[in-house]
């Protein structure tokens, strides 16, 4: 049987990372990509910009046209892989055929979570927001219907970007968040307050500590919504943006170990030799805790894919661990949040500065004189330096006092680390 040397299920950041990782070592063998979406690889986070009209479809591709040809990639687009046959080392696809492989990467990403218990959840005008096709559906809906207002359920990254996009289309938008703050995974209350103010100024209503309980229908279409305390929200469309779960269905029932996502080692390999997973579907080691955790962010996805690709092609590269982090521009307010920002338990030290007027907010969370988390709102230019300190687990006791000062920069760091960063780490001497 003619086995495919490299088979990749998925066509987004992790898949591109894998292609590029493979191609660094193996420029000859064919790579096969199977994607259920019919599109050339595109930038998933750009969908909110597309919806908002800030970018056009021509700018959607994540890699240029001709990318597959240039990289000798056989792209099977619009084809859904349904199951991994571990014993036969083959993937079954929707038309019933199978693709035998030598090396497999599962990079199927995540599935948007839709609550099942919401009354009226079957109405027209309810959307999730993770794919290009979601944008097209929403655009079509907005064009065909008189949508004056919308409800976004979920105040995380996707929720905020979608509410911002809807707002940009002239739709009055409301966002509800079950937690007590926006971006609850990475923001603290203060950051959330500042973000909320920015949303307010953009005419976006925010309700925290609540969620939608019922969707009203009129002629099968969304006609409003009721949130927990009984308040009604006028809306003609609802967007569910309460998170994604790893798209592990393809390995369900196989010997491949999963928890929330597919468990991988630091080579991004599953418990089955030659089968790898990367991206939002994978549950890889967390840099800070050392535990395995699914962190659905693009930088991690690409890096995991790249590590997997390298190892699939016979290389030796390990993943240093993922770091939960987010950069998001909320209606013109730049924010960056990294790692543990709302510490729970003892042993943490929190430093922060706040200027609500600017607004400017900087906060770092330390544990054992190492930074484990940080939030930057307003001024973010030097945030990456802190990310580096977190990643490199640098003892900051000698310069703790200046971490939050206005002129914080590399110059504030110990000379040795600074030189390592400037002339060493950056260029990997």
């Amino acid at each position: 049987m003619n086995r495919y040397p490299y088979l990749i299920i998925g066509n987004s950041a992790a898949a591109m990372g894998a292609i590029e990782g493979i191609r660094e070592r193996d420029s000859a063998s064919e790579i096969t990509v199977v994607s259920r979406e019919p599109h050339h690889t595109y930038s998933r986070p750009l969908i909110s910009y597309l919806l908002a009209g800030k970018v056009d479809e021509a700018r959607m591709p994540y890699r240029p046209a001709g990318y597959y040809e240039d990289n000798r990639v056989r792209a099977m687009l619009g084809v859904t892989a349904t199951h991994v046959d571990v014993r036969e080392r083959a993937v079954e696809i929707s038309d019933g055929s199978t693709i035998p492989f030598e090396k497999l990467l599962v990079a199927t990403g995540g599935n948007p979570i839709v609550p099942r218990d919401v009354e009226g959840g079957n109405a027209e005008g309810i959307f999730t927001f993770t794919t290009w096709d979601d944008v097209r559906r929403m655009q079509q809906f907005v064009e065909q219907n008189d949508v004056a207002s919308a409800l976004v359920v979920g105040g995380g990254l996707i929720g905020l970007k979608s509410v911002e996009a809807l707002s940009a289309l002239g739709i009055r938008a409301t966002v509800v968040e079950l937690a007590d703050r926006l971006m609850s995974v990475t923001f603290d209350q203060t950051a959330s307050d500042l973000a909320r103010r920015a949303l307010d100024e953009a005419g976006i209503a925010v309700r925290c500590g609540t969620t939608v309980t019922r969707i009203e229908q009129a002629d099968g279409e969304v006609a409003g919504a009721e949130i927990r305390e009984g308040t009604k929200v006028e809306c003609q469309m609802v967007v569910f943006a309460i998170g994604v779960s790893p798209a592990t269905e393809i390995v369900r029932g196989t010997e491949i170990e999963t928890e929330r996502g597919i468990l991988v080692d630091d080579c991004m390999q599953t418990n089955i030799e030659g089968i790898y997973a990367a991206g939002d579907v994978a549950q890889a080691v967390d840099l800070l805790t050392g535990e395995k955790r699914a962190i659905a962010i693009l930088p991690n996805a690409y890096r995991q894919g790249s590590v997997a690709g390298c190892n699939m092609a016979g290389g030796q590269r390990s993943y240093e661990g993922g770091l939960s982090m987010n950069a998001v521009d909320i209606c013109g307010l730049p924010t960056i949040s990294v790692g543990v920002t709302v510490p729970e338990g003892d042993g943490y030290e929190v430093l922060s500065v706040l200027d609500r007027e600017q607004p400017m907010y900087r906060k770092v969370v330390l544990r054992n004189d190492r930074i484990v988390g940080a939030v930057f709102v307003g001024e973010i230019d030097r945030a990456g330096i802190v990310t580096g300190l977190i990643r490199d687990k640098v003892d900051v006791s000698s310069f703790k006092g200046v971490l939050l000062s206005d002129d914080f920069g590399l110059i504030s760091l110990p000379a040795e680390y600074r030189k390592h960063v400037v002339s060493g780490a950056g260029i990997e001497v």
Binding site: G17, P61, D329, D381, G384, L410, I411, R418, V421
Partner: protein, 147 residues
């Protein structure tokens, strides 16, 4: 590839690198005109950090293992296949600031228009970047530093 390497022991904090970077990236490329008309619309790709008598000029390291490229969701941040420089395509950048978040050197800034990231472009393949050419003390040098 050739990279700009900062030598902090010789940086005199004059900031001529910043000034000439701005001029180089201005429309007129004439210093007085650039400062009169474009000073607020250009963020120099090089930035002098100074504390006490220590100072150095900082700019993108054009890392081999560039996290900004990995983190870029639009593909705007890319490596020039010819020069190896890490460049940000302003037409593609949407200002998500992922690159700023992952750059542990702190060498990427929010551009003057607040919408796209701004960084050193090594003067787009110039034989000598403007900052290096105009450093009076050779505190930044452009040299081959392939690992």
């Amino acid at each position: 590839m050739k990279r700009v390497v900062a030598r902090e022991e010789f940086c005199i904090g004059c900031r001529l690198c910043e000034i000439h970077c701005l001029v180089q990236h201005s429309k007129s490329k004439k210093i007085i005109k650039a400062f009169r008309e474009e000073r607020d619309s250009i963020v120099p790709g090089i930035h002098v950090e100074e504390k006490g008598y220590v100072s150095f000029a900082l700019q993108c390291r054009h890392c081999t293992d560039a996290r900004c490229i990995e983190a870029c969701m639009t593909g705007a941040m890319h490596r020039d296949p010819e020069t190896g420089a890490v460049l940000c395509d302003a037409d593609k950048c949407v200002g998500c600031w992922m690159c700023i978040m992952v750059c542990f050197v702190g060498a990427i800034q929010i551009g003057a228009d607040k919408h796209v990231a701004s960084k050193c472009d090594l003067c787009m393949g110039a034989e000598t970047p403007a900052c290096v050419a105009n450093c009076p003390n050779e505190a930044i040098v452009y040299e081959d530093s392939d690992e």
